[in-house]
Structures are given as C-alpha cells and as structure tokens.
Amino acid sequence: MGILETTAGKVLSAYSVFLFLTVLAQAAARRFSTNVLLFSLQSAIIAIQVAVIGYHEKLVEAYVVAALIVLLKVVGIPYAFFRLIEKLQSPREVISATSAAESVFVAVGIICLSYAAVRSYASGVHAPEDSLAASVALILTGAFLMVSRRKALVQMIGLLVLENGIFLAALTTTFGMPLIIEIGIFFDVLIGLLLMGLFVFRIRDTFDHLDVSKLRKLRG
C-alpha cells in the first residue's frame, strides 16, 4: 500500500464518522425538511471525500465529479425537494412505522452489522474499513428509510441515501471511477428522481394524499 493511498484512506475513514452521524440523525429526524438537509450534508461530505482523493491521486476528473456532486446533490436535489414540498403542501411531519428512538436503535444495529459484514472483505481489497462500512450503512439506512416511512417523498430520500451508499462503495473500492461512468450515474439518479417526482404528483392527484400504504387497494 503506497503512502498516498494510506493518506487517502485516512481521510476517507475520518469523514466516515461524519457519515455515521448523518445516518443516525436521519433515522431520528421527525421533519421532512430536516431529512433533506441531512441528505445535503451527507452529499457534501462525500464530495469532500472525492475531492481529497482527487488531490492525492492527482486526478482532475475527480474535481469534476466533486463539483457535480455539489451541484446536484448538495444544492440541486434538496432545492428541488423544497420546491416540491411547497407545491404539494402536504404535512411536514414524517409518518413512520417506528418511533424515533426505535429508528435510532435500528440505525445503530445497521452500523454494527456493516462493520461486521465488511471486516473480512476490507482487508482483501486494501480498502479503508470505516469507509466501506459507512457505505454499507448508507445503503441499508436508505433501504430502512424506504421501508419504515409511509410518505412517498421520504421514500425518495431513502433511495437517494441508498444511492449515496453505492457511490461511496464504488469510491472506496476503486478510488474513483472513470468520469463518463460517474456522469452516467448522475444522470441515472436525476432521471429516477424525475420519474419519482412525476409519480408522486400522480399519486397525490389520484388519491389526494401521499401515503403509499393506501396503495395496497390496487392489489388484485
């Protein structure tokens, strides 16, 4: 393992702690806007990580990617969400199947599981363990948000968190993918978000609410 990789690994590990904090906070968050802000913060942390890796690896592309993350995930998507909240005028509280305390416990459990799961794998690929665990924790937390929250909007946030986790996993294991693939992934997220936004509007127009648990009436 070279000196640069080690340094980059240290940075990734250090910032992973912040990611765990956002995970716990998101699990506890009661308001939708808090959730969006936390997502923005999370994305900012990842952007910093990308930039640091770019600095160490002397990759100009990484700066482009970091800029894209800032543009899209730190500013663009949260802004779009706030616009969406205004337009939909749905109640701001997150309706959850689990209470805030329970959610935090689940998030803690997820973090433990992530560390447990990546332990054997991390040493094999010379990837920083903390960062890999953080990525797994992000994926699982995103999925957990999608499972436990009733509102379609929070489920979108869950998907974005999940995507952040996948991005981080790719970053930690490969130290940056080619630019073209990164851009492709961004487009993917954007298009997915657009579609989901459309569906959210359709759900509201059809059912006058955003509670997806009522969708079960569609079952044949």
């Binding site: 054997s120 797994v136 499972v147 079960r216 009436k217």
Partner: protein
C-alpha cells in the same frame, strides 16, 4: 403427411434390417446437445408410430373433409403432422434435451388437436386436467434427467447409460420412482389415469386413435428406456411395484370400461387396461432380471413390447371404427346404436377383428402377446426365490380375469352396436363409411391378422431386441414354439371352416319368437347397461354407484305413470385422492398469498431482509 410417414416407415424398416445406427446432430444450432440417433429400441417404436400413423392419416383424408371447415382442416393437418413428427422425435432422440423438447411438443400438439374439435367450457376443463397432468408427468421426467446429470455430466444417452451402471442405490431408487411416476402418468396407469378417460373422448376420432394407440406407447418407450436401458433393472421390488400398478390398472381399467356406454370413454378405459397388461409384462421382466432369470425376463419383455405394438394396432383400429360410426350416426352412445352390421358391413367386419384382437382370441395378434406374458408368469415357478415363486404364477389369475372381463366387454360393444335392431333414428339410417376411411381401417385390421397368424416374422426382431435389453444369453424357446404352431393352427382352422361350409345344411328361415308378443321392437333388446349388469353387480364395491329411483306420481307406487332410474358411477379417485391434494395446494397457495400484500414497504422490507441476511451470512461464513 402420408408420403412422409411412408418415408419414415421405409427408412426405419431399412435400418432395422441392416441394424445400422443413423445419427443426426443439429447440436451446432442449439446450446444443449440436441442429437438424434436410432438404436433398435427406438427403431421398434418408430416403426410402431409409422405403421399406425399411416392408416390413421389415410382414414383422416376423408374423415377430416367431412367434419371440419377448410381453415380447421389446415390446422388439423398441420398439428397432426407436428404430433406424429414429435413422437418420432421422442423415440429417435439420443440426448435428454432432444427427448424433452419433442416430448413437450407432443403433449402440446395433442392438446391443440383436442381444441380443434371445439372449445366449450366443459371441454376446456377436461383439456386443462389433461395439460395439468401431462405437465406434472413432464416435470417428473425432467427431474429424472436432472438426477442423472451429476453422475453422467451430460444429457447424452450414451453418457447416461454409462453412468447408469455405477449409480448409488439411493439415486437409483429416486430415478426409478421418478421415471415410474412420470411415464406412468403419461401412460395412464391407475390412479394416475385421471386425464385419460377425459382427454380421449373429446378429441377427433383419428386423434384419439393416435393418442391412445401411439402416444401412450411413447410413455411405455420412455419407461423401458429408463428402467431397462439406463438403469438395467434393479432390486426385485421395482418389478413388484410395476406388477402391482399393472394388475390394478388392468383390472380396474376393464371394470370401468364395462360400465361405460360412451364408446370412446369405454375404449379409453380399455387403454388403461392394456397399459396395465403391458406393465404386467414389464414388471415380470424386472422381477426375473432381479432374480437372474434372464431368458424368462426376455420372454416377458418381448411379450410386453409385442403387446405394445398390438395394442397400437387394434386400439387405433377400434377408435377409427368408432370414428366411422360417429361419422355416419353422429353418436358414440352405445344405447343409441344397434343393427349397424347390416348397414355398415365393412366397418362391422374390421371392428369385429379389432374386438377379437383386443380380447386376445387365438389367430389374432392380442393372443400372441398375452400368451407370452402368461407363459412368463407361469415360468415364475422355476425361480428359487420363494416370494417370486408363489407370487408370479398367481398373477396369471389376474391376467385371466382381465381377459375374461375384456371379452365380456367387447361382446357387449359389438353385440349392442352392430347386432340386433337400431335403437335410434340415426342408427337406422346409418350408411357405410367412405372408401378412404374403410381403407385405413382395413390396413390396421390386416396388420392385426398378419401378426396373429404369422407371428414368427415379427417375433424374431422383437425377441432379439428384448434379449439385448435384458442381456439374455439365448432366445426363450417358447417364442419359437408359438411362431411354429400358430400358422398350422390357422391352416387347420381354415380347413375346418371349409369343411363346415361344404357340409352345411340348407338354411331354415323363420321369424324370431317374441315370447308370444306381437312383433319385436328395439326396446326388447339387451341394452348396454343391462348386459353389463351382472358384472357390475358382482364387482359392486369397485363402482360405488349412486343409484336413484324415481317413481311418479309418488302416491301410486304400483301403477306409476313413469319410472326413471339413474345409476351414476362416482369417480372415487377424484374425491379421495385428487381432491385433498388439490385442496392442499390451494391452501398452500393462499398462505403464500399473504406474502403478496400489495404494500410497497413490505416488498422493500423483503429486499432489505434479504440483503441483511446475506450480509450476516457473509460475516458468519467468512
């Protein structure tokens, strides 16, 4: 089609004589080994397919024209061709993949042919049962091939055969049971026969002839291929299992047949019975093999194979005869037929030949094969194993009972349908079938007669085939004996006939005595139901009939205005065997339905749970 079948006949006959193996290998086009080649066993069945398909095609030429619109005719011919070709493909296949593909096409093509006749709700229900059971059978067959795969590393028959000798006993048993259940369902052994009396009557008559005459034999082929060629026998209880299945199918099949008066259903039940006889032969052969009596095993197997060919001939003949009757009277209900012999003499004559063959009268083909199976059972007394020594000869009694009941049944069929007076307007105005139909039936009847009178030519290849399958050192002497004796018996019989006809006295024609009543009516005759009454009475427990007697008006029991009597045979298999099974499946499906909540979060939860458990597994395993 006729040309193609002829070509197939010629090709197979040619290669049988030269005993060379032709190979076809289109595997280059497919991801799996998809190969065809003909060995003697496949050839025998290919000849069976061709010899039956050709007359049936001939029969169909005029039958189809008279019954279906031009568009349906095209469909029927196309499907019929596909059906026959796929059956030929099954017997010619030399890899599991080719076998299964052709097998599946065969099942689907026959279902398509049934649909051509019409698609009312009732028919669709019966067809559904057929498709369901045939696919359950296919699933078992696929499973059997897959069980072979870890041991043979290839679905090629040569590899499977090589692996067959070295299988562990547990795998052997699993394989045998899978093949037994899979092919048994397709062959229609009781209690897996449920689809058979439902599917055959609703198909067009030529198709019934092919389904009953040939398709069931493909299942027999599959079973012989697995049990004899791949597994080369096994422990004795394999044989006893097959014997019991054969005995039960044979006996119950013929008993159910007697109670039927729908001619097609009756013949369908007789197919169950004859498959039972074939399985008796196969079972005896397996038992003999297990006890090392390979010459006897060859005799039993040769009897079973010959009976397969014979049944293909006379059963398709009888179904075609039924088709001819339906063609001219528009009914196959025995209670509405009668007096057809005078109106359809040729059909009557060939139908009589079919009847004599199926009940195994000497000088007809059924006799030869049934005699061989009989003889092999009697040979069981030479074994040293005490169970086999006592059990096998006892089965002769079962066979004899089957034969006797079959005779009663066909006396009923022929007597009620062809003799006496017509029981309906339609039967009264029946007329002889057209030339092509008669020709098709006559070809099959000729086949029955030739095998019955000159069995030597047919026995030699079949016996050598059976010998090679069971590894017998010599041909059983009994076959030589019967091949030598039968032509002389035939000659003696002909001579006797000639003498009798020369010495015959002049005919004395008088009106039939009607017990003093003025004139005879068709209502005085035995009906199909009344003829079979004594047998149904004796075997009452088998039928579990629901009887209902209605006397109207109810207050005058001695001077009623009308009496009606219904006797409905309940199918206890459905009630006691299939119904609980179906209910269980439906209940399980309802339980599974709970997984399908329609709630997005629950689906997401499934995904998360899978992820988490996989991660946990990774942790624990690593």
């Amino acid at each position: 089609m006729a040309v193609a079948t002829l070509a197939g006949c010629g090709a197979s006959g040619h290669s049988l004589l030269n005993s060379e193996v032709r190979k076809l290998n289109p595997s280059l086009l497919t991801p799996f080994p998809f190969t065809f080649s003909l060995d003697p066993l496949g050839l025998f069945f290919l000849i069976l397919i061709c010899t039956v398909s050709l007359p049936v095609a001939l029969f169909s030429v005029s039958y189809v024209k008279r019954h279906y619109s031009a568009a349906r005719q095209k469909w029927l011919w196309a499907l019929l061709f596909l059906f026959v070709t796929s059956m030929a493909g099954v017997v010619a296949a030399s890899s599991g993949f080719a076998f299964l593909v052709c097998w599946e096409i065969m099942s689907l093509a026959s279902a398509g042919l049934i649909l051509i006749e019409g698609s009312s709700g009732d028919r669709r229900h019966n067809l559904f049962i057929y498709l369901l059971m045939t696919h359950a059978a296919t699933a078992a067959v696929i499973a059997a091939f897959l069980v072979f795969l870890p041991h043979s590393h290839s679905l090629d028959f040569a590899a499977i055969r090589a692996a067959g000798a070295t299988l562990p006993p547990g795998v052997r048993i699993a394989l045998f049971l899978l093949a037994f259940a899979g092919f048994g369902t397709k062959a229609g052994i009781i209690p897996l026969h449920l689809w058979l009396p439902r599917a055959h009557p609703i198909a067009p008559s030529p198709v019934s002839a092919l389904m009953s005459g040939v398709m069931l034999k493909i299942a027999v082929y599959g079973f012989v291929r697995f049990a004899f060629d791949f597994l080369v026998g096994g422990p004795a209880w394999f044989g006893y299992l097959v014997l019991v299945a054969g005995a039960v199918s044979g006996l119950l099949g013929v008993l159910y047949a007697i109670a039927e008066h729908d001619l097609k259903r009756l013949l369908a039940y007789h197919s169950v019975e004859n498959i039972g006889i074939i399985y008796l032969g196969l079972g005896a052969s397996l038992v003999f093999m297990a006890h090392g009596a390979r010459v006897w095993a060859a005799l039993a197997l040769a009897g079973a194979l010959l009976h397969t060919l014979n049944h293909a001939l006379f059963k398709s003949l009888l179904f075609l005869g039924t088709g001819a009757i339906a063609d001219s009277t528009h009914t196959v209900d025995l209670e509405k037929l009668g007096g057809l012999q005078r109106r359809m003499p040729v059909t009557g004559a060939v139908f009589l030949i079919g009847c004599c063959s199926i009940i195994g009268l000497p000088l007809f083909n059924g006799f030869i094969s049934e005699w061989m199976i009989f003889r092999s059972f009697l040979g069981g007394s030479t074994l040293t194993n005490s169970i086999a020594q006592t059990l096998l000869p006892l089965i002769v009694g079962v066979l004899a009972l089957i034969g006797g009941l079959a005779a009663a049944c066909f006396v009923k069929v022929f007597g009620v349908a062809f003799l006496g007076r017509p029981r309906s307007q339609e039967a009264e105005h029946a007329s002889e079938a057209p030339l092509a139909m008669r020709a098709g039936m006559m070809l099959l009847a000729a086949g029955c007669m030739v095998i019955g009178i000159w069995p030597g030519a047919f026995l030699r290849p079949i016996v050598s085939l059976a010998q090679s399958l069971v590894g017998a050192p010599a041909a059983p002497p009994e076959t030589l004996l019967i091949a030598r004796v039968i032509p002389w018996v035939a000659a003696a019989f002909l001579a006797l006939l000639a003498v009798v006809s020369v010495l015959k006295r002049a005919k004395r024609q008088t009106p039939t005595w009607a017990c003093g009543l003025p004139g005879l009516t068709s209502r005085m005759q035995y009906t199909s139901t009344s003829f079979s009454k004594p047998i149904r009475f004796v075997f009452g427990r088998v039928y579990k009939a629901d009887r209902k007697l209605e006397v109207l008006p109810e207050d005058q029991p001695y001077f009623p205005a009308s009496i009606s009597y219904h006797s409905v045979r309940t199918t206890s298999y459905e009630r006691f065997l299939y119904r609980p099974f179906v209910d269980g499946v439906v209940a399980a499906a309802n339980q599974l339905r709970r997984l399908q909540t329609g709630n997005i979060q629950v689906y997401l939860l499934y995904i998360v749970m899978t992820l988490v458990s996989l991660l946990l597994y990774l942790r624990l395993a690593g």
